[in-house]
């Protein structure tokens, strides 16, 4: 309770403070510049996703940023956000809608609803937006990548892909899509040429590939979660970290995770790879050949992002109340600050 009061108070002070400083010479691009954005999925049944803003100096924090600025909701289950120039693309999965807004002011410019079906993630290449779509949950053959014309903000074509395309990243004009599997389970990465919107190849990786990142040597890293041992899955499938050479588009190495290690989050910063799981945050060098067995931070880490030597971690707590964003010092791994964010925080972005 006290923490919450302090937070509210500091937010209030922050607002007053920023009001007093309107005469500063440097022109701000918007109220939500120089800070952290956290996307919250929101309630599945009838709810809406929200975005929290926290300034880099932690002095200002605002909840439901998009909703407040625009007087409207993002839509049900804010899956992810993507950035292109000054624009933020907020993807509502169940809401079947992408809201396009200025990333610094959060003022909405348009929305994309046509030709989307269960949209998940977005990447940008060759001047276009690429959105992964699951299609109908029971249909394994209607999954696609929607190609968005960024001038008209309309879907101009669809590239059919196999079941369950999840995350998408661009390396120049080549796109990499992890097939987590939608309502089933996947084990491959599709590579697309954004110049002619054709599928180059589909590479087999470990089970449940999800998060991807590009390392210092220009390889695409794919974190495959594997499958934990459960009543419905009696045999554990180990997770793995798969490295793809972006020149040849071939798998060049696979490092298996230890039994019981099934991280849902992975990111790269400054030649270090970070994993997030329900046990905490793990850190390893890009060149290491083994996954660390112990955490550097022992706290539930649904999402992990690292920037300027700070580690940001979200926790959805009990999934029915607001979750948290916790910031740790990257050198000492000690907690700097904890913030209450929205319902089921998803991803962390930097503005």
């Amino acid at each position: 309770m006290n923490i919450r009061k302090v937070v509210v108070l500091s937010a209030l002070i922050g607002v007053l403070f920023s009001c007093n400083n309107t005469n500063e010479p440097e022109l701000a691009l918007g109220d939500y510049e120089n800070g952290i954005l956290v996307t919250n999925e929101g309630a599945f049944s009838g709810g809406t996703g929200t975005v929290n803003f926290i300034s880099n100096d932690f002095s200002v924090q605002v909840e439901k940023v998009f909703n407040k600025v625009n007087g409207e909701n993002i839509g049900t289950i804010l899956q992810s956000a993507g950035f292109n120039g000054d624009n933020i693309f907020l993807i509502a999965n169940v809401g079947n809608k992408i809201s396009v807004a200025n990333r610094f002011t959060m003022e909405k410019s348009t929305e994309i609803t046509a030709d989307l079906s269960n949209p998940r993630y977005i990447a940008f290449a060759n001047g276009k937006g690429y959105v992964t779509n699951w299609g109908d949950g029971t249909d394994v053959e209607d999954d696609y990548v929607a190609v968005i014309n960024l001038t008209t903000n309309l879907v101009e074509s669809k590239i059919p892909v196999i079941e369950g395309p999840e995350q998408i990243i661009a390396n120049g004009n080549t796109l990499y899509i992890s097939h987590k599997g939608g309502f089933g389970s996947g084990n491959s990465v599709t590579v697309i040429n954004a110049v002619n919107n054709s599928v180059i190849t589909n590479l087999q990786v470990g089970d449940i590939p999800d998060e991807m990142a590009i390392d210092n040597s220009g390889n695409v890293l794919v974190s495959c979660e594997g499958k934990a041992e459960t009543p419905w899955n009696p045999t554990e499938v180990l997770g793995s970290l798969v490295k793809i050479n972006t020149t040849t588009n071939e798998v060049i190495s696979t490092i298996n995770y230890a039994s019981g290690f099934h991280p849902g989050a992975m990111t790269i910063d400054n030649q270090s790879i970070y994993f997030g799981s329900s046990a905490g945050v793990y850190k390893m060098s890009e060149n290491a050949t083994e996954i660390p067995s112990s955490t550097i931070i022992a706290t539930i880490a649904s999402a992990v992002s690292v920037k300027d030597d700070k580690i940001y971690v979200t926790n959805a707590s009990d999934f029915s109340n607001n979750g948290t964003l916790t910031v740790f010092d990257g050198a000492t791994n000690t907690q700097l600050q904890e913030f209450t964010v929205g319902l089921i925080p998803g991803k962390i972005y930097f503005n």
Binding site: A43, V94, A228, W232
Partner: protein
């Protein structure tokens, strides 16, 4: 298997003995006991039971949700008009209200709850709401209360036809026909009903409308009885129901989902008087439930589906040992097979034993005691009890007390859903205590009940370490509150008035967080005023529902009211009754569940003919 054989042997043995003993004894005095024992009416000492009158049912015949919402303590979480509607009684969750069809618990074996918009509304002669835990008699889920949907098969000579036709806003239609013919030997009742609605109402305060909200359903009922003699009869109840619903959008997401329900319920009952004091009732039932979910209602080739097949056999033995003591023993054997897109074929067999006693201890003091134990393979089912006491101070005032232990066993989805099902779940256990005061005068009655329920081992679905939602026995909750109801009838000459009001105050909190549970209104009230003059009836009903929280949101409180007029046209043949009803007369913007607005003002024309 051996158990199964034993039960069936036992069952058939009883049948055979019945046949022989029937031949043996010739003279049986009928006057003392009836050939039917109603568990609700006869074994509810210390509990509050209220009947929903036929008039109320006919007025709202298209929706069982609406009938009960405006006339009982039950709060409904209806996901948009006509969509999935789950009950909440005394702050308990959707799976903790049991619904019984002619004495058979019909809660979904997959979901645990009953969707009140997937039940035919015009199939029953009798709708009764019983407050408080009743797991001993009514099985799993009877924690907050029970709703009883019964058909009456009697042997009083009559021939009746009834036709109801309604038409209203959003192209909403109801047509039903009932035929009843009985003699002192036979009884037959056939019912047919059809409901359909475009349901495309506008969302007030928004430019959206209830797209993808249309529904239709159809029911057919056959109830048949044959009286062999004054001491033996056979009854057959059969009900078929099919519903096709699109699932409404919300304010935050469109929808193109669709859902089909199909249920078949059959019950064969043989009642037999063993002696002047003993009654044996043997029951066989077969129930089939199936749902089909379509991700995209334009592509019905793709769907997920699940069904359950249940067979029940039951022996119910009643002994009126004396005028003051009644004893009842039940042996029940139930087998459920479930199969679905999301899990392999699964089977569950339950063997149940129940013992009940009613005892008039003194002239003013009576009590009832009931005990139950279920036997399920690989599952430890708790021993359940219920004790109720009634003290009649005088002809107006009755004090009642009851306490019970009730349970809910995990559903097939809880146990076997892939992914997520948890086969190690235990049953939810609830302890209840209740104090009731009843004042009964000539034209009015007043009731004041307070209750306390403590539930442990609540099953809740939460994401596990791999982010997959999986159920665990996690929470402990405490519910307490009070229920007040008042009924008054009076008249000025030919002007008849009736007034009913129900008010409830409910605190339901999670004992760990000490917060009010989601979707539990603290205050809730409904009232009804009926005015009748000769052939004209006018009624006004209103509901107040307090704000409720749901996750991080709050659904605001609302007041919604309906008004209606009915007129019986005497000049026409068969004297049909025609009516006009205005729903939500104040055009209130309200939601029952988050971001699913309900319709504004809307209209309905009704006709009802008996011939």
């Amino acid at each position: 298997m051996i158990l199964k054989q034993a039960i069936f042997t036992c069952f058939f043995f009883c049948c055979i003995t019945n046949v022989f003993s029937q031949k043996d004894s010739i003279e049986v005095k009928f006057s003392e006991i009836h050939l039917a024992i109603s568990k609700v009416k006869d074994f509810s000492k210390g509990y509050s039971v209220s009947s929903i009158s036929d008039t109320l049912v006919v007025r709202d015949i298209k929706s069982l949700t609406n009938i009960l919402r405006f006339n009982s303590f039950i709060y409904f979480k209806e996901e948009g008009l006509g969509m999935v509607s789950s009950p909440s009684f005394r702050g308990t969750n959707s799976s903790q209200t049991a619904v019984l069809w002619n004495g058979i618990n019909i809660n979904s074996q997959l979901l645990g709850q009953v969707d009140f918009n997937a039940l035919s509304s015009n199939s029953y002669d009798d709708i009764t709401v019983r407050s408080g835990g009743g797991s001993v008699l009514f099985g799993s889920g009877a924690i907050g209360g029970t709703v009883h949907l019964d058909n009456t098969i009697d042997f009083t000579t009559q021939t009746k036809h009834n036709f109801i036709g309604n038409y209203g806003s959003f192209n909403t239609k109801h047509i039903s026909y009932q035929f009843k013919k009985a003699t002192d030997k036979t009884h037959i009742n056939i019912g047919l009903g059809y409901n359909a609605s475009e349901n495309d109402y506008k969302y007030l305060k928004s430019n959206l409308f209830n797209e993808n909200g249309s529904f239709s359903n159809f029911n057919a009922d056959v109830n048949f009885g044959y009286q062999f003699s004054t001491k033996s009869n056979i009854k057959l109840f059969a009900n078929a129901f099919a519903a096709d619903r699109n699932l409404s959008r919300t304010l935050n997401a469109p929808s193109n989902d669709s859902y089909e329900d199909f249920t078949l319920r059959n019950l064969l009952e043989w009642n037999y008087k063993l002696s002047t004091k003993e009654l044996l009732s043997t029951k066989l039932a077969y129930l089939f439930d199936q749902f089909t979910f379509f991700d995209n209602n334009n592509n019905r080739a793709l769907f997920s589906r699940g069904n359950t097949k249940r067979t029940l056999s039951k022996i119910d033995y009643n002994n009126f040992i004396s005028k003051k003591i009644q004893l009842n023993g039940v042996l029940e054997f139930e087998n459920t097979a479930a199969i679905g897109s999301t899990f392999q074929r699964q089977n569950r067999t339950i063997f149940t034993t129940i013992l009940s006693l009613n005892h008039q201890l003194f002239k003013k003091l009576s009590y009832g005691a009931q005990f139950r134990k279920d036997y399920i393979k690989d599952f430890n089912s708790p021993f359940l009890y219920s004790l109720g006491l009634e003290y009649k101070f005088n002809s107006t005032y009755t004090l009642s007390v009851n306490t019970s232990k009730n349970f809910r066993i995990p559903t097939f989805n809880d146990l076997y859903w892939t992914p997520g099902g948890n086969p190690d779940l235990e049953s939810e256990n609830a302890y209840q205590f209740e104090l009731g005061n009843k004042l009964h005068f000539k034209n009015k009655s007043f009731q004041f009940n307070t209750f306390y329920i403590k539930t442990s081992n609540l099953i809740q679905w939460l994401p596990n370490d791999s982010g997959i939602w999986s159920p665990i026995n996690v929470n402990e909750t405490e519910n307490y509150g009070l229920e007040v109801s008042y009924n008054h009838k009076f008249n000025y000459g030919l002007h008849l008035f009736q007034f009913n009001i129900n008010y409830s105050y409910t605190i339901a909190k999670n004992l760990e967080t000490n917060k009010q549970l989601f979707l539990v209104p603290k205050h809730r009230a409904n009232f009804l005023i009926d005015y009748n003059y000769k052939k004209i009836t006018v009624f006004y009903q209103q509901l107040f529902n307090d704000e409720v929280s749901f996750l991080v949101d709050t659904i605001p409180y609302f007041t919604v009211a309906n008004i209606g007029i009915n007129y019986q046209i005497q000049s026409l043949k068969n004297q049909p009754t025609v009516g006009f009803k205005i729903n939500n007369i104040y055009n209130t913007y309200y939601q029952n569940t988050l971001n699913r607005p309900m319709p504004g003002i809307n209209f309905q024309i009704t006709t009802n003919i008996n011939f």
